[in-house]
């Protein structure tokens, strides 16, 4: 006897709107299905109407947690298109912010993992310390979440001595705290018992299902864009790729805590070796017709932007492949044969960023199976038609 249970889109365990439909047999999940699209805003289409500079701010607002990742990935691509080379100091500051973002994102995740595991004081502790990173980011960029520090050809704000010193001081505190969390997270018996063995994803499955980021690395595959295909200044920064081989949520926790440590080292290196010079170069308004793929290691995994230009000051096509999207297939695998009670934990373990992943697909005509390019206005009409004139299907049909 199997039941279907709908979870979401608005559900206490999921912070963002996403629907999961799990088929259960008793307590055990036999199948899972994801319902997406609640957070789809049409960013890609919108990007085609804005110019290169405006798009930086739009890209930032794809996601609030990895805002710098999307902006940097986009800016790197556009710089390649425009054939400009940002100055060294600009790149250093850009990478500095992206490492700080990784720290804040991983701390955030650690807290959420603690919360989902029922360890709320851990959550509060971690989030208290996360405020230190937020303060650093605020001193650098003036903002807590959307830093708006990137610009095409470099960064917008410089760093002075005092700020660098402040960051180094705060880093010491963070390092100590993270060591404490490492100890707590990996030795506290009840916490470990809750996480170990949950959401198993074998190495072969992880590779086959194209998992990315800490999810992949926790299955023992050392893959990291920063090492494999170094962008910006990562080829001269010493750091290690962290892996774990337990293939479960515990492993993902360990990988993230280790990455925190690596990030602290990177930040320290960047600040101590910050070169002098300008922070940005002037960028042209237009880009030659060309196309480019830009890769970036976001806190959640590999982020890919495909950008096509047609000689005007607007992109012709912008495609975003966010890390969470790549991890969905693996999540389904992890959910299968697990317990219902583990759903939030497993979900949280990939660090889902639903708003990142809500990218639209090409419209495929049902009858002819043909893809077609549509304009914004016709898309809008289509959308109105679908949402307003169609009989609404009831969402939660209780199977009793």
């Amino acid at each position: 006897m199997s039941f279907e249970i709908p979870i979401g889109p608005q559900h206490p365990a999921l912070k963002e709107p996403i629907g999961v439909r799990v088929t259960v047999d008793g307590e055990i999940i036999r199948d899972a299905d994801l319902h997406l699209g609640y957070n789809h805003r049409g960013v890609e289409k919108l990007a085609e109407q804005k110019n290169w500079t405006q798009n930086i701010y739009l890209m930032e607002r794809i996601c609030g947690i990895c805002s710098h990742s999307h902006a940097t990935c986009y800016v790197q691509g556009v710089e390649k298109l425009m054939e400009i080379e940002p100055p060294k100091r600009g790149l250093f500051i850009r990478i500095l912010v992206s490492e700080l973002e990784r720290v804040h994102s991983h701390l955030l995740w650690l807290g959420v993992a603690g919360h989902e595991a029922g360890f709320d004081s851990f959550f509060m502790y971690v989030w208290r310390d996360r405020e230190i990173v937020m303060d650093i980011l605020e001193t650098i960029s003036g903002n807590r979440v959307h830093y708006a520090i990137n610009t095409i050809g470099g960064v917008r704000r410089d760093l002075d001595e005092l700020q660098a010193k402040h960051i180094l001081d705060s880093l010491e505190v963070l390092r100590q705290r993270s060591e404490y969390y490492q100890k707590l997270g990996t030795t506290e018996p009840s916490f470990v018992a809750r996480l170990a063995g949950v959401g198993y994803l074998s190495k072969e499955d992880a590779i086959e299902l194209c998992a990315v980021g800490p999810t992949l690395r926790a299955s023992g595959v050392p893959m990291d864009v920063r090492k494999d295909d170094p962008y910006a200044v990562y080829d001269e920064v010493p750091f290690e790729v962290c892996t774990a081989d337990t293939c479960d949520v515990l492993g993902r926790t360990v990988v993230r805590i280790k990455e925190l440590m690596q990030s602290y080292n990177i930040i320290e290196y960047l600040l101590k070796n910050l070169p002098d010079g300008p922070i940005a170069v002037r960028a042209p308004r237009r880009a030659k017709p060309n196309e480019v793929v830009s890769r970036y290691e976001a806190p959640r995994g590999e982020n890919i932007h495909y950008i096509k230009s047609n000689g005007t000051d607007k992109p012709e096509r912008l495609k975003v492949r966010a890390p969470t999207l790549a991890n969905y297939a693996a999540t389904i695998k992890m959910l299968k044969n697990g317990f219902i009670a583990d759903v939030p934990l497993i979900f949280a373990a990939i660090d889902p960023c639903i708003c990142c992943a809500e990218r639209s697909v090409a419209i495929v005509e049902e009858k002819t199976q043909q893809e077609r390019i549509v304009t914004m206005s016709s898309l809008r009409e289509l959308n109105l038609k679908i949402t307003n004139y169609q009989a609404r299907k009831r969402e939660a049909e209780w199977p009793l």
């Binding site: 608005q10 365990a13 957070n39 607002r61 959550f123 509060m124 208290r128 405020e131």
Partner: protein, 144 residues
């Protein structure tokens, strides 16, 4: 007497439901950050609730995507009276950068009545706290 008591308890412990209607997540983490030790809205008796049926205040982030439209209205209807809505972030107020996109309604006040608007993209937790205090003031004045 009973009315006084309910009014008092409503003011002292407004329970909130956080609803994401297509936000970019930044407002959401700032809402959560407001609950954590640095800002700690719990000292006003504010508690984050999981279900709309327990909530007094709906904190709404995001520009209301068409997909979320029906759900938003349903959540609003499920919340017991009296209910209050806070539109948090530029998105929930008007649509922010997404304004004009095909899937965006643009501002939740197009769908449900809103009591307090908190501007910012994203809001700072301090702004959220101020918004809550304003809302409490409003409730208090409404009672008089």
């Amino acid at each position: 007497m009973l009315q006084k008591l309910t009014q008092w308890s409503r003011l002292k412990s407004p329970w909130i439901l956080h609803l994401n209607t297509g936000a970019c997540n930044a407002c959401d983490i700032e809402v959560v950050a407001a609950l954590t030790p640095r800002f700690d809205v719990e000292r006003f008796g504010i508690l984050l609730e999981g279900t709309p049926r327990h909530a007094d205040v709906i904190i709404c982030t995001g520009p209301a995507t068409r997909q979320m439209k029906d759900r938003l209205i349903r959540v609003y209807e499920q919340t017991p009276d009296p209910k209050f809505v806070m539109a948090v972030g530029a998105c929930a107020m008007s649509g922010c950068v997404y304004r004009g996109a095909y899937n965006i309604i643009g501002g939740i006040d197009q769908l449900i009545p809103v009591d307090v608007y908190v501007p910012g993209c994203p809001i700072r937790p301090d702004a959220l706290i101020e918004g809550v205090v304003k809302l409490l003031d409003k409730i208090k004045q409404g009672a008089k």
